[in-house]
Symmetry: C2
């Protein structure tokens, strides 16, 4: 079957492009002696995670306990839950994973460390812990080197926990690659201070984990960094393209849609809306539009309602007929994949199969 | 079990509030001799659809073929697919539904009517058809009374299709209830012209279907209207509240979350982000914030990343501790429910069970 025969909307991944993305990252980390622990929130599919491992990744990153379970069941090792977890049921589930897999968990408060410790102790299990610091995104993370060192000491003393290092997420760095150096140098200075404060407490800081897709290929500019956790790089999207972090040819995932109405002047409607693409904005561009329309770059996917994608055509341009199919690169591929239970993969347009988005809906 | 014991994030529905919403709508349509065919895209759960029927609804509305299948399997009758459908596989699936259930489908082009007709004919089945007209939203729908009448004639002649009437979606009317009269009168004038043009072709126009939640209780102001299709009214949300279409006490659905980090000054992070709430804006308000925080109305859920909800507190306000639980009314409840595989229901805080969101992910 060819992708043109799939019912729409359908999410399709070009395996050749995806594999090129994986190998490019693999080559980069080998060249710069970095570890790669890709964030699987982008796809939530163990089969893709295993392909990332084959291409050089050391382990996988997840955001939810349920996603960690899916990856553990899928045979993945060296799982990092890069999220502060609170709740006895969740800590117990993490302890169950830690009995079977190498598990590392991020914390930025004593409360989450203590709870996890209690569950691990009861289960007779151990997990690594990374102390998260705020590298400038102002989301999570301790604020000073002193706080980081104090929490590291607390972790080190807690039964079941093994202090493994520090982590941050540079989600605020979206400047173009050639302009990232000052921000990355600032993060490097933070790392130097925190590692120094941690070592002053007699602790080793083996892991310094950071990295996003926008900063992926500039990671070697961050002194002290040992590991990166990009997610989006596996597929890329319109936001990565708009920011200059990939080319259109590097975008491995498209949403196939069909024009279902063209009754309104200068408009056409396709059979995918915010419940197909997600409503995420084009944050690396002019914030207009919800995707790049491969066959009709002159048109704009200017609005989304739940199941309607609203295409706008320039005055005088030929509108598509009802039934015409289009391929759209979404603004934010992680949010788009999360709308779907199943995505298809192909080579050269020939469908080779589909993956279940196994971690989708595992919100707890 | 009480809702306070559920792991978070958890979507919970207060049955008492929901039933009040359903009965209020039921009383209204009986008083004004309107039919109610609620749009089930809000919940996608057959059990709730059956409660809507018990409260006076005549049938159900859906947006996707897959949602129609879920409602048909769930025992619902009088199913309206208020969406133009294109694709042979989908038309065949609709024909299969039409053999077992009373099915009506919306069209606004000859192409979708012809395709559906061919499949129904092959299956030896029949479906009602509503011709959609554009009431001012400029999304789908024929533009003139002449186009509507011409399409009605075409439908009437097509094997398997039974012309049943006309429909529109007043999704552009978000003015406060007391200010809607001019817009509704304009729609009434459109209806008068179209019904007249259709009748001039010798056709009856039994159904005139419209209605949204913002216009629900003003529907009697639209001359000629026979049926309404509100969706959100079952739960309500921050957008309905902001527009003056319901009170906070009418909001039946909340998302329970837990504070997982408060390391950053004036901020706290809860364990739900755009993959829990959806990123839909507060379109009936100042477009700021992603939900109403019941226990902390002075705080703002000012930003969402995928799994992090970013709370902002006024300077000097006490921040919640890590582990504190909050209840949040989402901006757009239809988009929020669509993120979840399961939602819980309760009375007075006592969990009575959960529903599978059976139609979620049925994107085709």
């Amino acid at each position: 079957m060819r992708i043109e025969e799939l019912e729409t909307p359908a999410v399709v991944v070009d395996l050749d492009v995806m594999e090129r993305n994986l190998h490019r990252a693999g080559d980069y980390i080998r060249q710069h002696h970095l570890q790669l622990r890709p964030h699987t929130k982008t796809h939530k599919i163990p089969a893709i995670a295993r392909m990332q491992i084959e291409a050089g990744a050391y382990g996988v990153t997840v955001a939810k306990v349920g996603e960690a379970e899916v990856m553990a069941e899928g045979g993945l090792e060296n799982i990092l839950l890069a999220y502060p977890v609170f709740g006895e049921g969740k800590w117990d589930r993490l302890a169950a994973i830690a009995r079977k897999r190498s598990l590392t968990v991020a914390v930025d408060s004593a409360a989450t460390a203590e709870g996890l410790s209690a569950s691990l102790r009861r289960a007779g299990a151990e997990a690594g812990v990374l102390v998260e610091f705020d590298a400038g995104m102002h989301r999570c993370g301790v604020q000073t080197a002193e706080e980081a060192a104090a929490l590291a000491v607390q972790v080190d003393r807690a039964p079941g926990l093994r202090f493994a290092g520090i982590m941050f997420y540079p989600g605020h760095i979206w400047s173009r690659p050639e302009e990232q150096a000052p921000a990355l140098a600032g993060v490097g200075e933070q790392i130097r201070e925190i590692v120094s404060a941690v070592r002053a407490q007699g602790l080793d800081c083996a892991v310094v984990s950071g990295g996003s897709t926008p900063t992926l290929y500039q990671s070697h500019q961050v002194p002290g960094l040992t590991e990166i956790r990009p997610g989006t790089y596996v597929f890329n999207d319109r936001n990565e393209w708009g920011g200059g972090f990939c080319s259109l040819e590097d975008c491995a995932l498209r949403v196939l849609v069909t024009v279902v109405s063209n009754a309104v002047p200068e408009r056409a409607i396709v059979d995918g809306g915010s419940k197909t693409f997600s409503g995420d904005a084009w944050i690396s561009g002019d914030r207009k539009g919800y995707g790049y329309i491969v066959e009709r770059p002159e048109a704009s996917l200017e609005a989304l309602t739940e199941e309607h994608g609203h295409l706008r055509f320039p005055a005088g341009a030929a509108k598509p007929r009802v039934g015409e199919r289009l391929s759209i690169i979404p603004n934010h591929v992680c949010a788009c994949v999360n709308m779907h239970d199943e995505i298809f993969y192909h080579r050269g347009g020939v469908v080779e199969g589909s993956w279940k988005v196994a971690g989708r809906g595992r919100v707890r």
